[in-house]
């Protein structure tokens, strides 16, 4: 047991340590992004530019789950930079009403973010990526839809398909309903990338989209005019910690080079490459920077050779051609799960024993602990970001909490219900309470206790896929990315190994359970 813990610790420590080794540079910056293509691409562009033009070691935490996670991570210093949109800053983060005009919005968020949190909006990139409402082209032509007001006229006959975030936001569906009087016959909350497909297949009639999203073209959707000026301007910019700028002024200077570099058309073209060709964002980012002439010491001709094949990669590509990445993710996944589980055992077994000894309130405490199982995993993961930042630590803490209940419960009931006649005889013949516990009650409880650990292990390995949402890596990574790209092959390349891993862990622990089961207990019952 101790040796296993050591191996896991080394795995966890060696990763970051090795990264530091190569980074014998002047410092380190952490770049984040949200979990959709454009945000990832911008994050990658920031990262490559900083790598090319500064001595800083750059760490990427791309694809974090949404605004809340990124913003909290930036505030707490887990991130130094991530791409954000001014409208999101104004409405989602500051909670204010949309302002007139792009420059008004930018000024407002600059002032507020600086004074409240010492966060800096730098180098607006030159394009806006607003929310818009789009409908299938065929529907627009048939019903003569040009504006959102037109849509409101017939909305009661239509099905809306909107992103989860959009449905609940005042600057989303709630406000639209209020301002335009939209009343959809039904509303289906959908994952962002799936909305386009759903609309393309006429499963839904109206969706929220981003201006620069290339899938508008792919699925033949028409953007409706926001005739009442409801959506605020969403200018893209780098959001940076003031502390980072003071420590490494070159970060501000270098990111400033990007100011005004992209317009909507160029951005849509870049997004198209990600969304259609399934190219890697690293390749697309390098091409974009090269076109802008911002990459140092790289010749322009390299591009075409290293470019990924534009054909859609299949499952075998992710499982075999990228087996190094698969192996790395599997190890990350196991590492996170193992540390959480070991910590769970170390805490839950003594806790279960203590509860059994005092009895008083034990059932209540165990029932309270049981409620942790009902907290949605993602919510629990997100909960720790303000305290623990993003990455492995909050993921391990969340998984650790999940692992506690089954182990505590089974330790408690197992030891409590251990054959009372054997316990009584052992005591009457002169075993100390400690000897009774170690030699009688725990061995008799072992099958139940191990079953609890096994439950916790499978739970942990399964839930660890969600850790990718907060940048902890693991097999959830391709699932999260695949969901953004609507790539089943990519999703499966994470989901299949994760399922196999859970089965293997279950079988392995089942074997351990049988091997450790005290022999005399077999023929009973």
């Amino acid at each position: 047991m101790r040796r296993l813990a050591l191996v896991v610790l080394i795995l966890l420590v060696a990763g970051p340590a090795a990264a530091k080794e190569t980074g014998q540079k002047s410092g380190r910056v952490v770049i984040g992004s949200k979990n959709f293509e454009e945000s990832r691409l911008l994050g990658e562009i920031f990262a490559q530019l900083l790598e090319s033009r500064t001595d800083l070691a750059v760490e990427r935490r791309l694809g974090l789950a949404g605004t809340q996670v990124c913003f909290e991570a930036l505030k707490t210093g887990a991130l130094d930079v991530y791409p954000e949109y001014t409208g999101t800053g104004l409405v989602s983060i500051l909670g204010e009403e949309p302002e007139e005009g792009a420059s008004g919005t930018l000024n407002r968020v600059r002032r507020e973010f600086l004074s409240r949190w010492d966060l800096w909006w730098i180098s607006p990139l030159g394009f806006e990526n607003s929310f818009e409402v789009a409908v299938p082209q065929e529907l627009a032509e048939r019903e003569h839809l040009k504006t959102i007001s037109d849509l409101a006229r017939i909305s009661s006959r239509l099905r809306g398909g909107f992103g989860h975030e959009f449905v609940g936001r005042e600057d989303g569906l709630l406000g639209l309903e209020r301002i335009y009087g939209l009343r959809f016959g039904s509303v289906v909350p959908l994952q962002h990338a799936l909305k386009y497909q759903a609309a393309g297949a006429r499963e839904v009639d109206a969706v929220d989209v981003y201006t620069t999203d290339a899938r508008l073209l792919l699925y033949k959707l028409v953007v409706l005019d926001d005739d009442k000026g409801f959506f605020p301007p969403y200018e893209a910019a780098a959001l940076v910690r003031g502390e980072t700028l003071r420590k490494h002024p070159e970060v501000g200077a270098v990111l400033g080079l990007l100011a005004g570099s992209f317009d909507e058309d160029r951005m849509r073209a870049l997004n198209l490459r990600l969304q259609e060709g399934k190219e890697d964002e690293a390749v697309v980012a390098r091409d974009a920077l090269r076109e802008l002439g911002l990459l140092k010491g790289v010749q322009g001709s390299e591009s075409s050779e290293t470019q990924a094949a534009p054909s859609t990669p299949g499952l075998s590509h992710y499982l075999w051609d990228e087996r190094d990445a698969l192996l790395r993710r599997t190890l990350e996944h196991l590492g996170i799960s193992a540390v959480a589980l070991l910590a769970g055992i170390l805490v839950a077994v003594p806790l279960g024993l203590a509860l059994e000894r005092s009895r008083k309130g034990a059932e209540t405490i165990i029932r309270l602990l049981g409620t942790t199982q009902t907290v949605p995993s993602l919510a629990l993961l997100a909960f720790f970001i303000p305290f623990l930042g993003v990455g492995r630590v909050p993921a391990i803490v969340a998984l650790w909490i999940y692992s506690l209940y089954p182990i505590v419960r089974n330790t408690y009931t197992g030891v409590r219900d251990a054959d009372p006649r054997a316990v009584e005889a052992a005591t009457a013949l002169g075993m100390t309470p400690r000897q009774v516990l170690a030699q009688v009650r725990l061995p008799l409880a072992a099958p139940i206790l191990l079953a609890g650990i096994r439950t916790a292990a499978v739970l942990t390995v399964g839930t660890a896929t969600l850790a990718a949402f907060i940048g902890a890596g693991g097999l959830g990574e391709p699932i999260v990315t695949g969901l953004q790209l609507a790539s089943s092959a990519m999703i499966l390349s994470g989901a299949i190994p994760a399922a196999v891993l859970a089965l293997v862990v279950d079988a392995l622990l089942g074997w351990v359970e049988r091997a450790l089961r005290p022999r005399g207990l077999e023929s009973r019952k």
Binding site: A428, G430, S523
Partner: protein, 253 residues
């Protein structure tokens, strides 16, 4: 390893004016006094709830009295370390109370191991004890309790109680769960061992016939009191209480 002091074959037990009231207010013992002579076998007879098991368990401090004093060889047990005391007193519960996850031989050598005997001595003692109760270390030693019959388990419990050669053995309904033939068989074994070993034995039973067969003296108990105490012949000749009389009649029927 120095050989431990040879223990005397038997010790006298005393309970003086002992009462026991449990937390829930039930009175299990009500001012009971009893003296067991060294080497004597005494049977505590009564219905369940009469206090016989509670009285038995006072002697190895599995129960602490609410009032009165319990002595072993004249020394109050309240002044003795309960762990040390228990290792020096054999104990046989009704269902054997064997540790189900330990082999038979390990069960038998439990107390010697707690006392720190070396392996060779434990091994020879285990062999000796199993043979004493009519089992073999080769056949039964490596088995687990669940693989033996009820009667065999009870023999093992007896061997376990005797393994460290304690001067006193407490038996709580040791034959209660066995069928008639097995019980009769074990009664024979009990009398034989009693004869050879000469220990002080306290036997709890609800079966008066069993008490008549095995004990030197019998204490009939009811509602936390001893109604009558005397040799079997005396009880049979002069029952001092209607309940004792009823018991005798039930035995004869």
């Amino acid at each position: 390893m120095p050989s431990p002091q040879p223990s005397p074959p038997s010790l006298a037990l005393e309970a003086v004016g002992v009462s026991k009231t449990y937390g829930d207010g039930t009175t299990a013992l009500d001012g009971v006094s009893l003296t067991v002579a060294g080497g004597e076998t005494i049977a505590l007879v009564g219905e369940s709830g009469s206090g016989k098991t509670t009285l038995l368990r006072l002697f190895n401090r599995m129960v602490e009295p609410s009032a009165g004093e319990v002595r072993v060889e004249g020394r109050p047990v309240s002044g003795l370390d309960p762990i040390v005391l228990r290792r020096g007193i054999g104990y046989v519960p009704q269902d054997g109370g064997l540790l189900p996850h330990w082999r038979i031989d390990r069960n038998v050598e439990m107390v010697p191991q707690l006392l720190g005997w070396d392996a060779a001595r434990r091994k020879s003692r285990t062999k000796e004890m199993l043979e004493l109760v009519g089992l073999s270390v080769e056949t039964h030693g490596p088995r687990f309790p669940a693989e033996l019959s009820g009667g065999q388990r009870q023999r093992v419990a007896l061997a376990r109680a005797l393994a460290a050669d304690p001067p006193v053995v407490l038996l709580d309904e040791p034959f209660g769960a066995l069928d008639v033939l097995t019980r009769r068989d074990l009664h024979g074994k009990f009398l034989e061992l009693k004869q050879i070993l000469g220990k002080t034995l306290v036997l709890v039973t609800h079966d008066l016939a069993e008490a008549f067969r095995l004990a030197d003296r019998i204490a009939v108990m009811q509602a936390g009191k001893i109604l009558q105490l005397g040799p079997p012949e005396e009880l049979a000749a002069r029952p001092a209480h209607p309940y004792v009389k009823a018991l005798l009649e039930a035995r004869d029927a």
